[in-house]
């Protein structure tokens, strides 16, 4: 191919990647609306404790703070992984994604431990309207994190075995958008569920 044809080819590839990333962005926006409805449910029901404990009695802020720092740091390492991927540095990309995965897995483990503890103490989703909406909102976020971790695992294994092929950077970009988005949702859960809960609003 001549240099001109190569240029056209690269421009076409870039265009396709942009379109795919925009499509994924639109999906993320609809996911935003999903979380918006769950936040609305929680806002309406958080006072309906059915005589049971409220958020102020149940939530342990230092524990939640550690979870938050883990997820925030994983969002940063995910960004650094993407910088390495755009440089084409396979080794650095894999290392940063492995670190992101470990931070995300630590976050998920802490969350599941918290859920199990609440359920064992009799504060399951069946106990009150407040707990139903709490488990639905925070659980849906946890489910997204689980899917994100599985996706990350598969992409990193693929990258490790095949190296950078045509669509690798595009796929990793989508994953990183998803991961940053989950971090943003968590900031709102941290503020409006846990911090506001401690204020007995």
């Amino acid at each position: 191919m001549s240099s001109h044809e190569l240029t056209l080819h690269a421009a076409e590839e870039q265009k396709n990647e942009d379109k795919a990333l925009f499509g994924f962005w639109v999906y993320i926006m609809t996911d935003c609306v999903l979380f918006g409805t769950l936040f609305a449910v929680y806002a309406v029901l958080h006072g309906n404790t059915f005589g049971g404990p409220s958020g102020a009695d149940l939530f342990k802020l230092p524990y939640i703070m550690i979870e938050t720092l883990l997820l925030l740091t994983s969002s940063y390492t995910c960004g650094l992984a993407m910088l390495a991927a755009r440089r084409g540095d396979k080794r650095a990309t894999i290392n940063w994604f492995v670190l992101t995965f470990l931070l995300g897995a630590a976050f998920l483990t802490m969350e599941l431990v918290e859920f199990t503890k609440l359920a064992h103490e009799g504060h399951s989703w069946q106990a009150s309207g407040f707990l139903s909406s709490y488990f639905t909102l925070v659980g849906t976020h946890g489910l997204h994190i689980t899917v994100g971790l599985l996706w990350m695992f598969l992409l990193v294994v693929k990258l490790w075995r095949q190296g950078f092929v045509g669509s690798t950077v595009k796929k990793l970009s989508m994953l990183s958008m998803f991961w940053h988005f989950l971090d943003i949702i968590w900031i709102f859960i941290f503020t409006f569920v846990y911090l506001f809960g401690a204020l007995k609003v």
Binding site: E13, M177, I187, T191, L199
Partner: protein, 129 residues
Amino acid sequence: MSKSPANTTAEHETGHKDHGTFRTYTIGFILSIYLTLMAYYMTVHHSLSRNGLVASLAMMAVVQLAVQLLFFLHLGQENKPRWNLITFSFALLVVIVVVFGSLWIMNNLDYNMHSTKDINKYLNSQDGF
């Protein structure tokens, strides 16, 4: 991405500069950590009155949203027409309508949540709902 002449030209033509750098990610990370720790500290130490805390915590969450959108998701740094920004604005509008609309409606259904005595009185006087 390899820096072959073809790729460089393509990047130049589409004008791609929305991937961020080590510096922008680090600034975003430091700001996020700062805002999170500050919100946590203010809540734990009851630094303000209850209403003051509610207002400042909500504000810090919105600032952090802006920080992460700008530094991690590079929103608004694309070429025109800014479809990412447009779809984001619309999603934000829908979320605001859903959340504040629900609260507004449910707060005005308050008579549903009064004591059984009140509800019976209401049902008797109104001949049902």
